[in-house]
């Protein structure tokens, strides 16, 4: 099947601590990088989707960005869905080109969270997603909310801290193969288990990074994709799932919207989880990935942790996953965090992933989740 939409350009900036960077500067660099990658000019962009920023927050971030870049597209808006934003923006861009409203939609994200906000500042800002009356008075933070999921998941399905640690180690192994990754020091399971306690059972190395960085993709119609530089990556399927916002109101602590979002995306693409060659799945915490791998159906309940220990998530494994190192070891800078997963999927499908290349990768799965496993969006991407 087809959604009549193609990714024609993809780019991410340097990541990590980038002194002198700014939110809008990272947006501009990512956007121009994606345009150059596609071989398109600024004038060929007729739609712009932006996300949100912590360091330069604005009610109308997409309009601010267009002002900065000096462009006047026919369609321009910002989308906010936490970690699901990047995938939802791509899904929305696909709808815009498939319906004929746009030919080339620039989807751009970036924030200088590390240099512009500090680690403490970022943790405090993120904690504001907690329910103001029924969560925040009790000291909830994003790691604490995921820790509540982790404890319950471990109780029900027997996942262990060692298995979660194996996930962190696998991500670091991938990051070592990526010259741009923020964290390039090897780690072991013991290092993860000895890292600082954050919110039991999660430790520092179970948690994602805080980074500066930007990323963008261009989504084009079939006609517009024909003249671009690289083999276009087709958006074959997309789906969303939304079950709650606050963890206190989650219908389940073990089953989340990724189940329906992925089922919809697979059905639209006419494929199953078993057909996927490479997966780039949101990994805000080790437990996030474990829950999603099992909930989506890549692994049986209770077996994703064992699979991680066995190396199944490695390049050459049963399901190569987060081949760039993910949010855990590559980088995480707000909405760009999820966009890095999409950019990596494009590299893999074009065969441009160098030392990280998954052999004959033709079908990729990309997934983002926002809130506390609250909002989910899944994409199936492919090349012929």
């Amino acid at each position: 099947m087809t959604m009549n939409a193609f990714i024609t350009g993809a780019y991410d900036t340097a990541v990590g601590k980038l002194p002198g960077s700014s939110c809008m500067g990272l947006h501009a660099e990512a956007a121009l990088g994606a345009l150059a990658d596609a071989g398109l000019t600024v004038g060929e962009i007729d739609g712009v989707l932006c996300a949100y920023s912590f360091t330069e927050p604005h009610l109308m971030l997409a309009s601010v960005f267009c002002e900065v870049l000096g462009i006047h597209p026919g369609t321009c808006l910002a989308i906010q869905a936490g970690g699901a934003t990047a995938c939802i923006m791509i899904m929305q861009a696909a709808a815009l080109v498939a319906s004929g409203q746009c030919q080339n939609v620039l989807v751009v994200t970036g924030d200088n969270r590390l240099s512009g906000l500090s680690r403490d500042g970022a943790v405090a800002a993120l904690a504001e997603v907690g329910h103001p009356q029924f969560e925040r008075p009790f000291g909830i933070s994003v790691p604490a909310a995921y820790a509540l999921v982790a404890r319950r998941y471990m109780h029900e399905y027997g996942a262990t801290s060692e298995q979660l640690a194996a996930i962190a180690v696998q991500h670091r192994t991938h990051a070592l193969l990526h010259p741009k990754a923020q964290q390039r020091t090897p780690i072991t399971v013991s290092d993860v288990l000895a890292s600082k306690e954050i919110a039991s059972p999660l430790r520092m190395l179970d948690c994602c990074l805080i980074s500066d960085g930007g990323a963008a993709v261009i989504v084009s119609s079939k006609a517009a994709a024909a003249g671009t530089r690289h083999k276009a990556v087709e958006i074959l399927g997309a789906g969303q799932g939304h079950t709650h916002e606050h963890i206190v109101a989650a219908p389940s602590l073990t089953d989340f919207g990724c189940k329906s979002s992925s089922a919809t995306a697979f059905a639209r693409a006419g494929v199953t989880a078993a057909d996927i060659d490479v997966a780039e799945i949101y990994d805000s915490f080790t437990i996030t990935l474990l829950v999603e791998l099992e909930s989506i159906g890549f692994f049986e309940r209770g077996s994703a942790g064992i699979a991680a220990e066995r190396g199944d998530l490695g390049i050459g494994g049963r399901l190569p996953c987060n081949t760039h190192g993910g949010l855990l070891s590559y980088a995480h800078s707000g909405a760009a965090g999820g966009m890095f997963h999409a950019v990596e999927a494009v590299h893999q499908l074009r065969g441009h992933a160098e030392a990280r290349q998954v052999r004959d990768a033709k079908l990729a799965f990309v997934h983002g989740d926002g809130g506390i496993l609250s909002a989910h969006c899944s994409l199936v991407l492919g090349v012929h």
């Binding site: 943790v123 405090a124 993120l126 904690a127 504001e128 329910h131 103001p132 009356q133 029924f134 969560e135 925040r136 008075p137 009790f138 000291g139 909830i140 933070s141 790691p143 604490a144 820790a147 509540l148 999921v149 982790a150 404890r151 319950r152 109780h155 600082k196 306690e197 954050i198 919110a199 039991s200 059972p201 999660l202 606050h246 963890i247 206190v248 109101a249 602590l253």
Partner: protein, 137 residues
């Protein structure tokens, strides 16, 4: 976001939650049920999460529930909570079918476990009564 200042963020009651917080101040734990369909609301709200009726009634809870999950926070999100750390957050599924996130008595910690039964009492925080998990007996 309620009275924040430099201290703990305290609840700022809204129309649909005022009765809950008034109950806490009187030592009574309250929850909402829908008079149209009977569904218990997991957290207070203005319309039923099942049938969207606005006919929500407040009831008094037995204040007993079961631990759904818990975490001990070492890395607190703000200065006020850093002064409390480590502290424990517990999610409790109440007998009547609603849910609370609360902190807990230190005395409860050694026996705190998923599936364990707890009682909800109230603790004074900067002049406001917040629900709080205690040992059942």
């Amino acid at each position: 976001m309620g009275r924040t200042g430099m201290g703990r963020p305290l609840p700022n009651p809204a129309a649909e939650t005022r009765s809950f917080w008034e109950g806490c101040s009187e030592g009574e734990l309250r929850y909402q049920t829908c008079e149209a369909c009977g569904v218990v609301q997991i957290t207070p709200r203005s319309v039923c999460s099942h049938c969207q009726s606005a006919l929500l009634a407040w009831k008094r809870s037995s204040a007993v529930g079961t631990v759904l999950s818990f975490t001990t926070v070492h890395r607190a999100p703000t200065e006020a909570f850093r002064a409390m750390a480590p502290y424990t957050i517990v999610m409790v599924d109440m007998n009547e079918g609603f849910r609370l996130m609360v902190n807990c008595d230190r005395a409860l910690l050694p026996t705190l476990a998923i599936g364990g039964r707890v009682r909800i009492g109230f603790e004074d925080v900067d002049g406001m009564k917040l629900p709080h998990a205690q040992a059942l007996s």
